[in-house]
Amino acid sequence: MNIVVCVKQVPDTATIRFESEAERVDISGATLIVNPMDEYALEAGLRLREEYGGKVTAISLGSKETEETLRTALALGIDEGILISDPLFEGNDAYVTSYVLAQAIKKLGLFHLVLFGKSSSDSDTGWTGPAVAEFLGIPDVTFVKKIEEISESRARVQRMMEEGYDLIETSLPAVFTVVKEINEPRLPSLKGKLKAKSHKIPIWTANDLDLDSTKIGKAGAKCEPLRVWVPEARKGGTFFQGEPEDVAAQLVQALKKQQII
């Protein structure tokens, strides 16, 4: 089974500086990590390969530093990592990113499954996976929490819903976006880390892909960012003290007064 995992490099939220007075988000000093949800997609790919054989390829669209994200994926045990990087991709929105990823997946050739994490921790839109599926003309299942059955031509999976799950049967190739419940990701082994260090990571530029140059970067973007700001930090409020019965009474009274209950 040939599996493509789309991974994104993101700044670790806990290391970003949010400056509410300067209205600025400073990611220059942030630690760059594999998008946390993508770890589940990588693990799902690795487990499928272990059971059914084949190959797992990770692709990532980003700056040159994104190579590190692919090395992390290689250390986990994927077979190949491909970096899609070009200054021409600056200003890509989710629509253009999906278009470029779809063209890169086509270039990879035969595949059965494309995996994504359900969303990214920075922009959290969650729509790249379904959009890639539409560009590829293949079905997608989002929020997959369990793969019940799978072959190279069909799969039966559980899609998480608000109040339970839907059981979906789909033909392959298909795109799945996965949620955390699907597995528990492994940690990279020392051997994996060493191997990843010297592994060659090809870089594909816009020229290497069959792309319409008017449809990429800022010119191709369908959405335009207007501004980013840091809202004033939420402040702590009132503390209630005393015996449990007293604090319970005070809290209920406060909630009633605020018409919350």
Binding site: E134, T142, E163, L167, F239, A248, I260
Partner: protein, 327 residues
Amino acid sequence: MAYFNGVVGVAEQRNGKLQSTSLEVLTVARKVADDLGTEVTAILLGSSDGDTLAERGANRVWMVSAPELEHFQAGVYNQVLGHLLAELKPEVIVGAATIAGKALFGRLAANLGTGLVSDAVAIETDKEKRTVAVTRSVYGGNAMAQWVVRTLPQIITIRSKVYGEAKPKGEKGEVIQKDVPRELFSSPAKWLKSAEEQGQSVNLNQADIIVSGGRGLRGPENFALIDGLANAFGGAVGASRAAVDAGWISYAHQVGQTGKTVNPKLYVACGISGAIQHLAGMQSSKCIVAINKDPEAPIFKIATYGIVGDLFAVVPALTQKLKAQNE
């Protein structure tokens, strides 16, 4: 650009029941249409309550009924909506950022060759440019970003519980059954069945009140306390990542960066210290109550009401108090 006109609100039904988020969608669709001086067409796929939409602000409701539309199927819904939208050519499409909405609108944007800004928490219509600027939270709710779609139709999805439900208006719109070509009903990904989560209510996105438990509960059996308090409040049960990873409760309950983002009227965090990843999923709640024995817990920095104390004493006392009030 007169070619594009009107606002579409995409409603959602589950097992035939019109979802409350659809009435929130209608509120936003109506507001944008009023700002632009145009009309709202609500689209409802599958048999459900189109009259309510027509009574609450939709100038017309387009309904399509077919067995294949009774349950959400992203591929089929995308095809049918794409067909209807080609006829309507709206300027703006408003949908809900539910799990189904997240699956559907990304595909639809690619299908229509247009942009989507998801999870709106605020919108601002520019009447001259006829665009809608959308504010959404990024970096786990620590920052906000404003975006605009610069192609038509502009697709927007809204986060649940931000906008009120549309109220009945004096006049009623028209409810129209639409026929679409049958071939649109087939898709390679098929719904087989739906299964409900057993036990506690997990529809965190539609809950007005959520009571969450964390590591401070010390074991799965103590989630009974959280259940009890959630019941007394008439709310749903949430959990921190620590509690889910320990296997005390299922992932469907997880609030935070790798779980659900919620926005209830009241969020009660019991035995949750408040890691940034947890705060990412709940800090926009209107009122936050924290119960924790550690006065230094970060959750207190954002809590509207804080109780430093033993949850094993405070939670039962609070449950009792609420029950007494309810009687």
